[in-house]
């Protein structure tokens, strides 16, 4: 193991339940945001003196504004069905990482101040006072939830711990306790337009470099246009696609598909980010502000359609919320859903026979596919429920010869989180990220043993970054995680492309 200090939980399939390790993850805290980062999002910079009253009052406000919050806090019967469903519980054994126990950290306080039973019989219903220790506990354990919704699938009432986590983070933000990673990033989007703080000039240069790379590689000039007014399609993609591996290979894939289908498209420097961390901190207002950038870019550029690149939570916000947050989109072409996913676009082109592939280009990969939580459990692709599972698989199978499924209880709606979602993709939470990835890694090991699987594809920027970091801890290469459009990019035959046979012929002619 490269780095010996982190303990990697070993586990067999089917997923075994861990022994209880009470307090195992107690006190784990991601870095807190600096005052200016909180203030930039409209929150108090530091812990306000009347935090207790504020927090209690805001809790009451949330119950009025959000039915999920109120109903979920009221109706849990403590049946225990969700207790073994969270990858962080499976990976850490800390009982406070069981979904219902995580909800109870907040429910116990909500009950104390906002319900009859909790006000008059707190000991009976497990209600407790709000104290500074409780705030600490919230900050710790509500940053050990990736808002993946796996628990919601298995709860008889669909109680979604992610909603409670978001609410808890929102309450913390409202009393002046923000998380550095998420809040800093949201601030950058408000200011510059993307998570990286990458200015338009640098973006332009990056895209030009990529165009050169593609031409060197294929001999075909494939464009990556930026801010082109009058283009048909606005592509909004996570900014990781501009610089990180394997994300960037996915971006090249989108460009090749657009090229082959003859699409007129553009990226925008104003809305150069698909990710929307406003979701992670449960802030409707911040999520809305980030989404409105996309609307403005679409209006300014005069496009007809909006397409999103590969990103999990971004697709949730796009598919499920964009119409709410930044709609209505009646200025776009009504013949296409708003927004569309790049995979919907590519799959449609494949079905219409517009793309040609040489599948053998991916023969060095034995593939499996990781369903990203937010795509799987919080959105859809295509016209049918479950299209979010079929369309990525269809595309992979169209471009790869070797494809195998991981065990059923870990895919599709039951998929296991990568361990880095929900705003936890920060180095200060690395220990949690490694442990949280262990159930997924266990399932992957199973298909590696059974079928010799070497690579896993994903369609989420966070999954890709997280896996490239943690897979080495589990004995895989860091490039064992690939973009789906990277596979498309490998196999696609561009019109006029120099193929290997051409090369060989050319070489012979020269002899």
């Amino acid at each position: 193991m490269a780095d010996g200090e982190k303990v990697v939980p070993e586990r067999d399939f089917p997923l075994e339940l861990p022994e209880f390790k009470c307090g195992a993850m107690e006190g784990l805290e991601p870095f807190k945001a600096a005052p200016e980062h909180n203030e930039a999002l409209g929150f108090p910079g530091e812990l306000v003196p009347d935090w207790k009253e504020k927090a209690i009052a805001y809790m009451g406000e949330l119950a009025k504004k959000n039915r999920a919050f109120q109903v979920y806090l009221d109706m849990c019967v403590k049946c225990g069905a969700c207790t073994d469903k969270c990858h962080y519980y499976l990976g850490t054994g800390d009982p406070k990482n069981m979904p219902v126990a995580r909800q109870d950290l907040l429910r116990s306080v909500y009950r104390r101040y906002h319900t009859f039973a909790g006000k008059y019989f707190p000991w009976l219903v497990g209600a407790r006072d709000l104290t500074e220790d409780v705030l600490k506990e919230w900050y710790s354990y509500y940053h050990q939830c990736s808002e993946c919704r796996r628990c919601s699938v298995f709860c008889p009432y669909g109680i979604d711990t992610a909603e409670i986590t978001m609410a808890a983070r929102d309450i913390l933000d409202h009393v002046g306790i923000g998380m550095k990673y998420s809040n800093e990033i949201i601030g950058k989007v408000h200011k510059v337009g993307n998570n990286l703080g990458l200015p338009a000039k640098a973006l332009k240069a990056t895209l030009e470099d990529l165009e050169e790379d593609i031409e060197d590689d294929t001999g075909v000039s494939v464009r990556l246009p930026l801010d082109e007014k009058g283009a048909d399609i606005l592509l909004v993609t996570p900014s990781a696609d501009f610089f990180a591996e394997p994300h960037i290979d996915g971006l090249i894939g989108y460009a090749k598909v657009f090229h082959e289908t003859g699409a007129s498209w553009t990226l925008s420097s104003y809305a150069s980010e698909a990710a929307n961390f406003g979701l992670f901190i449960g802030s409707y207002e911040n999520m809305r502000e980030v989404s409105l950038r996309i609307r403005k870019a679409a209006e300014d550029l005069g496009v007809k359609r909006i397409i999103f690149g590969e990103c999990g939570h971004a697709w949730r916000v796009a598919y499920s919320f964009l119409n709410t947050l930044a709609g209505p989109f009646d200025f776009l072409d009504p013949n296409y859903p708003v927004p569309q996913h790049i995979l919907e676009y590519t799959w449609d082109a494949i079905q219409k026979g517009k793309l040609r592939f040489d599948k053998s280009k991916n023969d060095h990969y034995k593939m499996t596919y990781h369903d990203s939580c937010n795509v799987a459990r919080a959105s859809r692709m295509g016209d049918e429920p479950g299209g979010q599972f079929e369309i990525p698989r269809n595309v992979i199978k169209a471009v790869c010869n070797y494809y195998y499924e991981m065990p059923e209880e870990t895919t599709r709606e039951s998929t296991l989180c990568c361990g880095g979602g929900g705003g936890l993709l920060t180095d200060d939470l690395m220990d949690l990220r490694i442990k949280g990835a262990s159930p997924r890694m266990t399932a992957l090991k199973q298909v590696t043993e059974d079928h010799g699987v070497t690579h896993m594809a994903a369609i989420c920027a966070i999954c890709k970054t997280q896996f490239s970091k943690v897979m080495p801890k589990y004995g895989y290469e860091m490039d064992s995680i690939v973009s789906v459009h990277q596979l498309v990019s490998n196999a696609i035959i561009l019109t006029g492309q120099e193929t290997e046979e051409d090369d060989a012929d050319g070489a012979k002619a020269e002899e």
Partner: protein, 240 residues
């Protein structure tokens, strides 16, 4: 005397149950869900949502996917309870509905399956450390309350019979606001007291899962976010 005390108890309990539940349902119905959050794959039509809800309420579909033990015990308990409740209608009706007649033979034995279900759930609470960890005193007490109701009920049916004609006259009388007499049997009085307690705690306890399940946004929303704009009234204010 006894008749008057219990009449009062039941009038108060009924009032608290009805007012409490109507109030909660009213609040749930009026509280907006600001965003589309169905757990997907979700139905794309209202008909589909009704079917999904039906499968959840009648068969506990999601619970079946997650844990066969809880499902088996919980489903047995709930379905038996409905049969038992249905059977109880005969104590409130002069002319018994055919459906109540139909349930009669099953209802008699449903008491036992309800008992098994409840006892199993209670055992899990003690024995499974994950469930023990998340249980508050009220969680044990709720099961104990239901168990005692079932046991006192079963004892009247199988061990120490009470004067059931007299009970029926008393109950039908209450419906017409006429207070009669009750047999002074320990089992009966225990049974009635516990039922009244159940009615009173219903709207202030986790029994709110009964109305709640129908208002859960992750289960009752149609997956049509791209086609139809969903906007909460308070969110619409932000656009002004």
């Amino acid at each position: 005397m006894l008749g008057t005390i219990y009449a009062l108890l039941f009038y108060v309990a009924t009032l608290l149950l009805v007012v409490g539940l109507v109030r909660k349902i009213w609040i749930y119905a009026r509280t907006p869900a600001p965003l589309k959050i169905p757990t997907t794959p979700a139905p794309t039509t209202l008909g589909g949502v009704i079917l999904r809800m039906f499968m959840e309420v009648v068969f506990f579909q999601s619970l079946f996917k997650s844990n066969k033990w809880i499902w088996a015990l919980g489903w047995m308990f709930h379905m038996s309870m409905w049969l038992v409740l249905l059977r109880h209608f005969r104590y409130f009706q002069q002319h018994v509905w055919w459906i109540v007649e139909l349930a009669q033979p099953f209802g008699t034995y449903a008491g036992f399956t309800m008992l098994i279900g409840l006892a199993g759930l209670l055992a899990r609470r003690f024995l499974v450390n994950r469930v023990r960890y998340i249980s508050a005193p009220s969680d044990y007490l709720m099961l104990a309350l239901l168990l005692l109701i079932v046991l006192s009920g079963l004892s009247m049916r199988w061990v120490a019979h009470t004067d059931i004609i007299m009970v029926k006259n008393y109950m039908t009388g209450l419906l017409r606001f006429q207070i009669g007499d009750l047999p002074a049997d320990f089992n009966l009085l225990l049974h009635l007291t516990l039922v009244a307690i159940l009615m009173i705690v219903f709207p202030i306890s986790k029994l709110l899962h009964v109305p709640g399940v129908f208002f859960s946004p992750s289960r009752n929303q149609v997956d049509n976010a791209r086609e139809k704009r969903h906007l909460a009234p308070w969110a619409a204010e932000l656009e002004k």
